[in-house]
């Protein structure tokens, strides 16, 4: 009849029927907790199906926007890089230098501070390039005999933004007749790429911030919807961690699920857009989908998980701490 086991002291801090507290107990307790948290989080998904679906959808849409920002930023930055790599200084050499003199001038230019690479372009090669570019025509046959083009050096700067200084220094090298670097075009290009980088970063940051706010609100709503449940949990003696950790894990899982969906959608759309763009505008440097996949998954994934966890912590702390 008397099935109760009664002890008259309050077993505070000694754990009530908690699995093991001696050696090995810590591990068993951890395992028990992990199992409890996982089971409760999974049950939370199941019991709050509609709310979870709403949260995942909202987070997913926010991440979609943030992910699109990442893709845009990657492409703009790639575009800027390509454009910058095309900025180069051309040094035309004085007429009548022999191979040994050209070689010495080349070495002198190579030694100029800020120069990354120097390539000698002989007048014959320059003519060939010109001929190719303008389309073969018999008129060139005549020019072969009396090539009017000078020998030149193509100079790549280490930092495209310092190309003006490099050009000035190269111009001072003996044997160099004239230097061009497309001053205006280069300056505008560099200003543009700087603006593009700033804009891309700002857009991504804004979209991420919006995503974070949306997620925090969504999780708060789920917590409010479950307030009664959390109250009862605390009432029957659930410790704070027993209430908090499943909610935290739920937030993380929601973020991860939303991130996975957003990455799939974005990659699909991006693959289509990239192939169309490349077909229509072949000169446009589009980053191939395979190269952005990892970056996109990593950023969107970590933002999703981080934002899910942060939102859960934020929402739960306000509730449980009181």
């Amino acid at each position: 009849m008397d099935r109760r086991v009664r002890s008259d002291h309050l077993p505070a801090r000694r754990g009530i029927a908690r699995p093991g507290r001696a050696a090995g107990g810590r591990l068993r307790l951890a395992a028990w907790r992990a199992r409890y948290v996982a089971a409760e989080a999974a049950a939370g998904f199941r019991r709050n199906g509609l709310m979870t679906a709403a949260a995942v959808t909202t987070i997913g849409v926010a991440l979609l926007a943030a992910g699109a920002g990442v893709l845009a930023a990657v492409n703009l930055s790639h575009l800027a890089e390509v454009l910058e790599s095309q900025v180069q200084v051309v040094a035309y050499l004085q007429d009548g230098l022999d191979d040994g003199q050209i070689s010495r001038v080349r070495q002198a230019v190579q030694d100029v501070a800020g120069v990354r690479q120097v390539r000698v372009v002989s007048r014959q090669e320059a003519l060939r390039v010109l001929r190719q570019r303008l389309g073969d025509s018999p008129a060139f046959d005549d020019l072969e005999a009396h090539n009017p083009l000078p020998d030149s050096l193509e100079v790549a700067a280490e930092d495209p933004r310092r190309v003006r200084h490099v050009a000035a220094a190269v111009a001072a090298v003996p044997g160099v007749a004239e230097v061009t670097y497309g001053a205006q075009v280069t300056d505008r290009l560099l200003a543009l790429t700087a603006a593009v980088r700033v804009a891309a970063a700002a857009a991504t940051a804004c979209l991420a911030a919006v995503a974070a706010v949306v997620v925090a609100n969504t999780i708060r709503m789920t917590v409010l919807a479950r307030r009664q449940e959390l109250d009862i949990m605390l009432l029957v003696g659930a410790s704070r961690w027993a209430v908090q950790w499943p909610l935290l894990l739920e937030g993380v899982l929601q973020g991860a699920a939303a991130a996975a969906a957003a990455v799939l959608v974005l990659m699909g759309l991006y693959a289509v857009a990239a192939s169309r763009l490349t077909a229509a505008l072949p000169f446009l440097p589009v980053v191939p989908p395979s190269r952005v996949a990892v970056l996109l998954a990593a950023t969107v994934g970590s933002v999703g998980v981080g934002v899910g966890a942060a939102g859960a912590v934020f929402a739960v702390r306000r509730f449980v701490a009181s």
């Binding site: 009849m1 008397d2 099935r3 109760r4 086991v5 009664r6 008259d8 002291h9 309050l10 077993p11 505070a12 801090r13 754990g15 009530i16 029927a17 908690r18 699995p19 307790l29 028990w32 199992r35 409890y36 019991r47 709050n48 009664q228 449940e229 109250d231 009862i232 949990m233 605390l234 009432l235 029957v236 003696g237 659930a238 410790s239 704070r240 027993a242």
Partner: protein, 228 residues
């Protein structure tokens, strides 16, 4: 078991819920807490299960100064108390069995013990056949039985009930009171806040009467009201 020493509770808005309340409840007692709505019965119970802390005075429960408990100690105290409410407070998306089992799970009871112990508690209160029903599928009396099962599944030495029959018809109310008396007979201290005159008058148990936050009567084998 429970001891109030000159306890005053004033809510932030300035409302004085309890004023200089002192009494002592010994193990094994069955106590009715009576008084009109707003007299402070619920506040008194909430002080016992540490949902509130006293503004002044000392509340000790199971040998602990409840006002000083922090964090984890509160959870541990609540595992040693059963609490039953007028509105049952069952989790709507969990079955009767899951509701009872949850109170065991959070205490870290061994997984293999949870189900049999929860079923035994449901059996004790007479709703084992409805173990897999959701609260919405149960009658009021059945829901209250499930909430009592949840309250006693951890074998608490103390059971608190706040208007447990408030939402029930007279016949079901009697069944619930009989159940609480049975739990008391097995050794659990029971405190019931109620304004059901009939029940108090028939049971003839100890009565503590509150009026405007003060204890105005504490009587062995008392009636709901002092006879005029």
């Amino acid at each position: 078991m429970v001891e109030f020493e000159d306890v005053t509770k004033i809510f932030p808005a300035g409302l004085v819920a309890l004023r200089g309340v002192s009494f002592r409840i010994d193990p094994g007692e069955f106590v009715f807490l009576v008084g009109p709505t707003g007299a402070g019965k619920s506040t008194l119970l909430r002080l016992i299960y540490r949902d509130e802390i006293p503004t002044a005075g000392r509340v000790s429960v199971l040998g602990r100064d409840v006002g000083r408990l922090r964090g984890g100690a509160v959870a541990l105290l609540r595992r040693r108390l059963g609490v039953v409410f007028q509105d049952f407070k069952l989790l709507p998306r969990r079955t009767a069995l899951e509701n009872v089992a949850f109170a065991l799970q959070v205490t870290g009871a061994p997984v293999e013990e949870v189900r049999p112990r929860a079923l035994r508690a449901l059996d004790l209160v007479g709703v084992a056949p409805r173990a897999h029903a959701y609260p919405a599928e149960l009658s009021g009396g059945e829901q209250q039985r499930v909430s009592i099962a949840r309250a006693i599944v951890n074998d608490p030495p103390l059971l608190l009930a706040d208007e447990p029959t408030g939402n029930l018809d007279p016949r079901t109310s009697w069944e619930i009171i009989r159940l609480l008396a049975e739990i008391n007979r097995r050794g659990t201290t029971v405190v019931v806040a109620t304004h059901n005159k009939t029940i108090v008058d028939v049971c003839r148990q100890r009565v503590i009467e509150l009026a405007a936050g003060r204890v105005v009567r504490d009587q062995r084998r008392g009636l709901y009201a002092v006879e005029a």
